[in-house]
Every structure is written in C-alpha cells, then in structure tokens.
Symmetry: C2
Subunit: 217 residues, 2 copies
C-alpha cells in the first residue's frame, strides 16, 4: 500500500468511523454492504462515503456494494493497523492507568510495552500486568525495546519536557493527553486529546441550545 | 451574552485553545497581549485569531492588544463556563474513574455529582469521594438533583441504551466515551470522544511519514 499524500485531513478523520462500523458488521456475520445502507446507518451522505473511499483508490463495484471483510482490511491497511506498534505511557495517573486498561483499541498489534512515572509511590506497582518504572530508566528501555509511540499522561507542567525526551529517543508518534499543547521534532507526528476542550465545545452548544429554547418561550 | 447562531464549528473548536492559553498567561501574571504575540505562541495566523474573536463581537482595540483577563472571561462566557453544571457518569470502569479524578476541567462550576454502574462489585464503592450507585437509582437521583449532563463510559453494547435513558431523564448534553456512535433526542447536544479514532489518525500519519522517509532512502 503506497502513500496518499493529498488526502484531506477531514477524510482521514472519517476513516476510523468506517473502520469501527465495518468491524461491527463483520462481528454480526454480515458479508456485503451497499454504500446506500452504510449511508443510512452512519447518518452520512452516500456520495461522500464513495468519495472518501475513492481517495484511497476506491473499492467495491457499482451495483454490487462492498465486501465488508475486504473493505475493512483495506481501511485497516490505510490506517496502518496492519503493522505492529510498541507504545510507552509516561504518567501513570488516572488517565494513564485507564489507557493501559482500555480495551477500545481494536488493533491487536498495538501494545503498551512500558509505563513510566516519577512519583516514588507509583514506581514498582503494576497496572494490568505492566510494572511502573522510573522515567530515568526510559532511555535504557528504549534502547532495548522498539518504542514507536509515546503517550503523554503527565501533568501539563511536565508535558513539553516529556515530549522533547520522547522525540530524542526516536519515537515516531506522540499521543498527548496532557491539557496543554506541546511541540515535537520534525518527522514526529502528534495527536492531542484535550478532554476539556471537547467538554467546552459541548457546554458551548448546550448554552446555545438553552438560549434558543428560552428565546422561544 | 446572546446566542451566536452562525459561528462555524471550526471556530468554536478553536475557542478552548484560546481559553487554555489565556488562562496560563493569567497565571503567569500577564495583563495584556497582542494578537501578533498570541499568533506566534499559538502557532496560528494572527488574522485568523482576530477573525475568530470577531465572530463573537470582537474584543480588544486596534494597537492596544487584548486585556488577558477580560478576554479570558469573555471566552469563558461564550463557552458557557460562567454557568454551573451537574454531571453524572454512567460506567465506573477505568475511563469513568479517570474522569471523576481528572483535574483538567478548569471550570470550577462543572461538578460530577453522581457515578453509576450496574456491576454488583462496583456498587457502594467510592471514587474521589463519590459513591457508586446502581443505574436503577438514576431516575430517582435525577428527580432530586439537577443533572445537566450525562457522561457515558459504559461498554459499547450499553451505550445507546444509556444515551436513551439520559435523554428521557432530561439531560441537555451527553459526552460519550463509549467506542461507538449513539443517537440522542432532538435538543440534546452530543460530543463524542472516540479515543481509538484519535489513535488511528495518529497511526495513519505515522505510516505515511514512514513510507515517505523510506521512499527517499
């Protein structure tokens, strides 16, 4: 599978939704699906679904719909889920521990291979079978294990320092849960999960909705 | 503060970033800031920042920059952070517990007032001082307490049922962490946090980056 340099970010962000949807269909024992049924069940425009999939070369055949298993595997390959990844979590607080346990990562090849912290009371404990080590040992760990990805779950004050350290150790991606923005080296990909940002957007819409409702009373 | 019916969603999604940034500046004791310095430190176009803020009526005065405290308070009001919210969490698993503990919600008026689960082994335990109750008692709880918002942290199989129940109980917003899409009643606002989607987007970009790097070797 080659590289798709010009695919719009919005299209890429819809691919996981297709992947989840098709995985569920497979589990339910279904084999083929039309873009019109996908459209109905996903609440999306059928032509948008076709256009999105065409960004990656197109699958399916006019009038025959898609083979669910094949399409799902293709999307898995597009997303890079056909490769193995080793990830480390820095910060074994609540979010860090939740991620170690989290079963929502439907990619068997994505493995959390190390959990690191600086708090003396955390070091040596285990989370889901994974021992919590001191961050000072991370460089040595990264020499002995292939670490593709770092997950930052530290307090925001430590986030940039952690990101810089992970970049120096050669990770290719950083998944940042600290409630702040961090800078990464060229060539390292960054994805932020700012939970409070998502909450604020929800509160904004709730307020707008409330104001509208009150306005019509 | 009125309602801003036509503000593009992309603008709204940038407001929490401004809010976080200005809150940090305030903590550092700063008082005024120019859009050009904001632009530099946020890594965003200065004219975009001005346009974004103008969507809500504009603040600041040409050549004088913004009063950080005033702008932050205005953004807080825009986002609805000047109001009080009571939230319940359904599903006291790892993600649910992490959210109860999570200190990243910089809005003092947002409070988690109840945590609910169905697992016998969870009921009666406490998380951050909050007793875990059986979901069967949620309707009664919602009659006695103002529940503005429901946070779904259940397994995906229970997510839709939970969303429907929360809508019947009159919540105005649902924050969904279950790895599936749910439908809500008209007038109820929904915000999804699909953690694996965010990871997949990161893995996609890492794969593209890797392919590009290998391609130039």
């Amino acid at each position: 599978m080659g590289s798709y340099g010009k695919v719009p970010e919005a299209v890429i962000r819809r691919m996981p939704k297709y992947y989840r949807y098709l995985s569920d269909k497979l589990l339910q024992g279904e084999e083929r699906i039309s873009s019109s049924r996908m459209s109905e069940e996903l609440g999306m425009n059928a032509s948008q679904i076709r256009r999105d999939l065409n960004c990656f070369g197109g699958f399916g055949q006019q009038g025959y719909g898609y083979s669910i298993g094949k399409l799902r595997d293709e999307i898995a390959a597009i997303l890079g889920l056909d490769r193995a990844y080793g990830a480390v979590i820095i910060g074994a607080g609540n979010i860090g521990q939740a991620l170690v346990h989290y079963s929502g990562f439907a990619c068997e090849k994505f493995r959390i291979i190390g959990v690191f912290d600086v708090r003396p009371e955390a070091i040596g404990k285990t989370v889901a079978g994974c021992a919590i080590r001191h961050v000072q040992t991370l460089a040595e760990f990264a020499r002995q294990n292939r670490v593709d990805l770092g997950i930052i779950c530290t307090p925001k004050e430590a986030a940039q320092e952690t990101a810089s350290m992970l970049c120096r150790l050669g990770v290719r991606g950083i998944w940042n849960f600290a409630p702040t923005d961090v800078e990464v080296s060229r060539g390292v990909r960054l994805e932020n999960v700012h939970l409070s940002d998502s909450l604020y957007v929800l509160l904004y819409h709730m307020k707008q909705q409330g104001d509208l409702t009150e306005g019509t009373k």
